[in-house]
């Protein structure tokens, strides 16, 4: 799409018009907004609900909203939710079934009709996460029809990162702070003496169509230069970095490392990291029946590999220890994900670091595994 991309500049009124146009098209517009002391993702009726002037301060186990000196709308990083809450909802009915008096079984697919979402302000890391979940849920032999339908109808407006947080490490995962593809529109926010504006470029035909309906200015050299400088600066201000190693090989070779005991002593196996992770996709199913016993519904809900029941086979859980459950999560994310889905399951958003009640830092753990794996070699005779 890069060759045919159109660029333009929107001001705040242009952004208002964008949300209004999407709402007028019948889309459910979802974007960041301030609620409950955090920047959350929620349905927006207008661009005015964006977190203008708010930033965040993040560290391991820490999330604070902070007032900014400017009015920037996208000067924050990933909040407690990710877009999977909409594309791969926490709870979904898969089907229901009736049993007639003569025992006849009727099964109905009764997933709710998929809304046409427009996601406003998708971070590059989250855009990558959506692509990862696409590979898990919408490709392969048995695509998840609910996910695929919501995804097919979704309109994605990316927002490049200009204000990375202390927990961010997308540069080291190759997923940000710039976006390259996978969006309908991409915004880069510029706040300068010349005003508050958004450099916009199109990434799809649908993005082109929407853009033509908006009041806009041509992309001027100054805005373009400021935008790319802001993204470049962001790349230099990452709060953290994943060690530059072959993660797949390192974690694949670390199954019996001693570090697992160390991290297991800190991990509460609460599963927060799996809930906030934008790629974690695991679900379980439950059967819900009514009082007559002749109507039953099959529901799918998020599950976590930290849950003891997750690996239950008759007799008991396969992964009973915290060590084995943390190991499952981390090795899956960084190593076996490649085997299963052809890419890593980590995009460097840093949510698992910020929302871990014990402040466990995935980059620090990987550094420790790397140190442990290289120790014997360093001790080898010279």
């Amino acid at each position: 799409m890069a060759g045919t991309a159109t660029t333009a500049v929107l001001d705040r009124a242009g952004l208002d018009a964008l949300v209004a146009a999407l709402v007028a098209d019948g889309r459910t517009v979802v974007g960041p907004t301030v609620r409950d002391g955090a920047i959350v993702l929620a349905e927006l009726s207008g661009a005015g609900q964006l977190p203008y002037g708010w930033g965040v301060e993040l560290d391991a186990g820490r999330y604070r909203l902070v007032r900014r000196d400017d009015d920037a709308a996208f000067a924050h990083s990933g909040g407690p939710q990710s877009w999977k809450a909409f594309l791969h909802p926490e709870r979904e009915r898969l089907w229901s079934a009736e049993r007639a008096a003569d025992g006849t079984l009727t099964v109905r697919a009764d997933r709710a009709e998929a809304p046409s979402y427009a996601f406003l302000g998708v971070r590059p890391c989250d855009l990558r996460a959506i692509a990862v979940q696409d590979r898990v849920l919408a490709s392969g032999h048995y695509p998840d029809s609910g996910y695929r339908e919501r995804r097919r109808r979704a309109f994605l407006i990316a927002a490049e990162c200009t204000e990375p947080a202390g927990t961010c490490f997308c540069v080291s995962m190759g997923s940000g702070p710039a976006v390259d593809d996978g969006y309908d529109l991409a915004l880069t926010e510029v706040v300068s003496a010349a005003g508050h504006r958004f450099l916009v470029r199109t990434g799809s035909a649908e993005g082109e169509r929407i853009l033509t309906r908006l009041p806009r200015l041509p992309a001027d050299a100054e805005t373009t230069a400021l935008a790319s400088a802001a993204v470049r600066r962001a790349a230099e201000r990452m709060g953290r970095a994943m060690p530059p190693v072959d993660l797949r090989a390192l974690m694949g070779a670390s199954l019996e490392a001693e570090r697992w005991d160390d991290v297991a002593a800190r991990c509460l196996t609460c599963g927060n990291c799996t809930l906030v992770c934008p790629t974690c996709f695991c679900t379980t199913t439950e059967e819900v029946t009514d009082l007559t016993g002749d109507h039953t519904e099959r529901w799918q809900r998020w599950d976590s590999c930290f849950d003891l029941d997750f690996s239950y086979v008759h007799g008991g859980p396969v992964r009973a220890s915290a060590r084995s459950r943390y190991r499952q999560w981390l090795t899956h994310k960084l190593s076996t994900w490649y085997d299963q889905f052809g890419s890593p399951g980590c995009v460097g958003c840093g949510r698992c670091i910020a929302w871990c009640p014990a402040g466990i830092d995935i980059t620090e753990e990987v550094a420790a595994f790397r140190a442990e794996s290289s120790t014997p070699r360093e001790e080898a005779p010279q």
Partner: protein, 154 residues
């Protein structure tokens, strides 16, 4: 000796030791129900089964003998003859008509004493047989096929 039995003993015994052993073997036949040996008695012989089944058992007062394990063609019956005090630990009974090679334990022990290489080979052979049986016995102890596998959930 059939090919099959040659293969079984050959796993642990080099050919030259095997043939020295076989040179001392007698052919034995046991009708169904024959007691080959009894727990606590002197272990002065051992056998390698050619056809049929020998079942090891242990006497339990007030009940019929508890069958522990069955041994079939190519398998060694008896190892207590190799270790002091040379007394049988279990009983053994032919549960089908059995044909077997019978060996004189004392003669073999004397051969082993005078030829340490043969002694090591025989000890290695019997040791391997015991190791397999120990593993199998331990697997059975796990009671794997019970409703919840190898015991109650953790």
């Amino acid at each position: 000796m059939t090919t099959k039995q040659a293969v079984r003993m050959a796993v642990a015994l080099p050919a030259k030791h095997r043939s020295r052993l076989m040179n001392t073997a007698r052919e034995a036949r046991f009708p169904v129900g024959t007691r080959l040996f009894e727990e606590g008695r002197k272990a002065d012989r051992f056998w390698v089964v050619r056809t049929g089944t020998v079942t090891l058992d242990m006497h339990v007062p007030g009940r019929r003998s508890a069958a522990i394990e069955s041994l079939a063609a190519g398998e060694l019956v008896g190892w207590s003859w190799l270790f002091p005090p040379y007394l049988w630990h279990f009983g053994a009974e032919a549960t089908t008509p059995v044909r077997a090679y019978e060996f004189d334990a004392l003669a073999i022990r004397l051969m082993c004493d005078s030829d340490p290489q043969l002694g090591a080979a025989v000890a290695q052979w019997v040791g391997q047989v015991l190791a397999h049986r120990l593993t199998q016995a331990r697997m059975r102890l796990l009671d794997l096929y019970a409703p919840h596998g190898s015991g109650p959930p953790r």
